[in-house]
């Protein structure tokens, strides 16, 4: 789980989430929407706290629901959480 983790690199999270969402949203929109939500999180030093990661994934998941339904959006969000959990903490 992300809640017990050290901050993660914002760029690494964006890259991972973009990779996972690209098949559905297209790479350009996956990156743009992730960055658009990310900009609202008051990120400092290019790092995302566990709460910010959760907020980002929550926003992305709720946006996806209009295209894929909540069930699949939740599955995608879980996949994103799992992938982000593999990212090494930011130095």
């Amino acid at each position: 789980m992300t809640s017990a983790r050290a901050p993660l690199s914002y760029d690494a999270v964006v890259a991972e989430v973009t990779r996972l969402l690209s098949p559905v949203l297209g790479e350009s929109m996956a990156r743009a929407s992730t960055q658009a939500h990310g900009q609202k999180l008051q990120i400092q030093d290019g790092r995302l706290t566990a709460d910010q990661v959760e907020a980002l994934l929550g926003k992305l998941g709720s946006g996806l629901a209009v295209f894929v339904g909540r069930e699949k959006a939740a599955a995608l969000a879980a996949e994103m959480r799992s992938a982000v959990a593999q990212i090494a903490p930011a130095p």
Binding site: S22, P23, V24, L25, G26, E27, S28, M29, A30, A32, S33, A36, H37, K59, S62, G63, A65, V66, F67, V68, G69, R70, E71, K72, A75
Partner: protein, 270 residues
């Protein structure tokens, strides 16, 4: 046979018939078109394919709507689009029955009631999608930008529609026939307004499944509009020999509707 395989078979058949119609438009009543593929044969094949594709589009759109949660804002636009496809299918059922039994395409026919009903449903559904996708938080343009696009498309559509439709109005024919020959292109031009905005909304998703699904549906709208405009013009000019182009346009349009609706259904199917 699964629904997917059945659809693939109908898509392949429809594209083949559309290609045969293109050949028929180029070759006229010569060669194989004077023997094995006479007018009535192609008309009956197309009648079956069109009806099947519209039923499939309805089934997929309805399934997509049902799969979305009751409070999901995309559910209602999907329901409206499903009803539009259902109205097209009912209309085509009337038309196909004439075409199958008598080998002719009556105009007007009871089917036109349902064809006419389908357009407002589709227009309302498209505006619903635009609002829903805009409010979902994706960078797909603001309400102001969409209003400007709508205004520009409306002005352009009006500028094109008036010179096209004026001669249609002057054509001899029954009042219902003239009304329909004008009403279909007018509804097409109105439909183009949300269609262009939806294209703007879908464009940033290119490369993804969402874009492919919308590109198919919007491609279907383009083919449908082309068919309606050609129909109005050919009716007015009495150019019955150009009917193959009409049938080809509608076949491609319905292939796109069925394909786009299925791709959307796949998106929500998990």
């Amino acid at each position: 046979m699964t629904l997917r395989r059945l659809q693939n078979a109908f898509v392949a058949a429809a594209l083949l018939v559309a290609a045969l119609y293109a050949g028929r438009a180029l070759a006229g009543h010569t060669g194989i078109y004077a023997t094995a593929l006479r007018e009535g044969v192609l008309l009956r094949l197309a009648a079956v394919a069109k009806l099947a594709l519209l039923i499939l589009a309805y089934v997929h759109a309805q399934a997509t709507a049902s799969r979305l949660e009751r409070d999901n804002p995309a559910r209602q636009p999907w329901r409206l689009l499903a009803w539009a496809m259902g109205a097209f299918a009912l209309a085509q059922a009337f038309l196909s029955s004439y075409q199958m039994v008598k080998g002719v395409s009556p105009f007007p026919s009871p089917g036109d009631i349902f064809f006419m009903a389908a357009y407002p449903l589709m227009i309302a559904s498209f505006f619903g999608f635009i609002r829903t996708y805009r409010e979902a938080g994706y960078p797909v343009g603001s309400a102001g930008e969409h209003t400007v696009i709508a205004g520009l498309v409306a002005v352009l559509a009006g500028a094109i529609a008036i010179p096209i439709l004026r001669p249609v109005l002057a054509t001899p024919g029954g009042p219902i026939e003239i009304f329909l020959n004008v009403a279909y292109p007018v509804l097409d031009f109105v439909l183009l307004v949300p269609m262009i905005i939806l294209l703007r909304v879908a464009w940033p998703f290119r490369g993804g499944a969402i874009f492919r699904a919308w590109a198919a549906i919007l491609g279907g709208v383009v083919a449908l509009c082309a068919g309606d405009l050609l129909f109005a013009w050919f009716s007015m000019l009495g150019e019955a020999h150009l009917d193959p182009l009409l049938h080809g346009s509608y076949l491609i349009g319905y292939v796109c509707f069925a394909l786009g609706a299925r791709l959307h259904r796949d998106l929500v199917a998990g």
